[in-house]
Symmetry: C2
Subunit: 220 residues, 2 copies
Amino acid sequence: MTRTRFHQSLQELKERLLAMGGLAEQAIERSARAFSQNDRELCNLVLRSETAINQAERQIDELALDLLAMQQPMAVDLRFIVSCIKINADLERVGDQAVNIAQRVLDMEALQPSGILADVPRMAGLAIAMVNDALQALVSGDAALAQTVLERDDHVDRMNRAILDAALGSMRESPATIQHALDVMLVARNLERVADHATNIAEDVIFWVRGADVRHHAAE
Amino acid sequence: MTRTRFHQSLQELKERLLAMGGLAEQAIERSARAFSQNDRELCNLVLRSETAINQAERQIDELALDLLAMQQPMAVDLRFIVSCIKINADLERVGDQAVNIAQRVLDMEALQPSGILADVPRMAGLAIAMVNDALQALVSGDAALAQTVLERDDHVDRMNRAILDAALGSMRESPATIQHALDVMLVARNLERVADHATNIAEDVIFWVRGADVRHHAAE
């Protein structure tokens, strides 16, 4: 395999990862909309998308392994390919969160609403934007953009905490809608995990771009 | 670098990953015990272990990258090294779950207990055994052992569901202990995520051993 062919495959890896990201983001967007609108059809669409996401994950892994098998990839390419493998796993788990939300919405249908839905769609929007920007940072090699993703994670954590507090308050006041309040809380937690995956992706991008590991900078 | 030196480094990678697994398992065991015994000191021990786990993760990633940079690793070695990188990320997140549990136990201290603690230590034991067996399967190249880990995930999911139901029942009956019941439920969820990470690790082991991707077999 020539250098040119190698770089074409690297480009293909990037494009497939973006497409995979698009599928995962779409699944989250749909599951959050299904939640807001209590839409069974949309839930089923999300459940059906899991197969496509899993297939995309496998194809990306195989392509990345093929690239690693090439003779002596340069250090920067090596780190990029390894980052793609890790990011791929995170995107697949973003898809899993969408499936969890869709399954929960299907279970919730018969429940009396607790009236604490307000910020879930906005939280979903923020989490999706974090995933999107983390992938954009990968494509454009933009560590500064990846850094903004890390900073936005706190915002999503605070929203999650606010929804948790609202759900707790609702549970205390209306025991009849405890299950619904709990489901809203768990959906918020799923979205918080999406933001966590975006954070992981952003860390991998920074790791690749800067060639340094910023992941646990705060811990030391 | 000679083949001998390469295989020594591969062995070192294996040993470091096992040591990393030991740290992560210990952190979960301690956080679950801290929960049962409401032990602040144990919580602080878990919080302090995060730095060591993060450092171990970085060193393993760097060692794996060094190995990938060698001239043409054989396909089986390549898959092994890539599996180690993925497993490493899962072990780090197992450590994160321990930290989450320890932080929650510190927050819970002042709360009136809801009386639904029973199965959390057993659930922790099962999740830890899954992580341990998944790593043993890696070391011994034992896909059958890895397969048993996948099967045990359902058991942990059922325990999580049972704790969730018990917590819901408790919430309905005793609004005064809703926060405690919720915390127990969230600890159970953290342990369920540990089992999910063990499942991911087992899938990577099977992927490496069989050279095939069984991850989404059920989905197709």
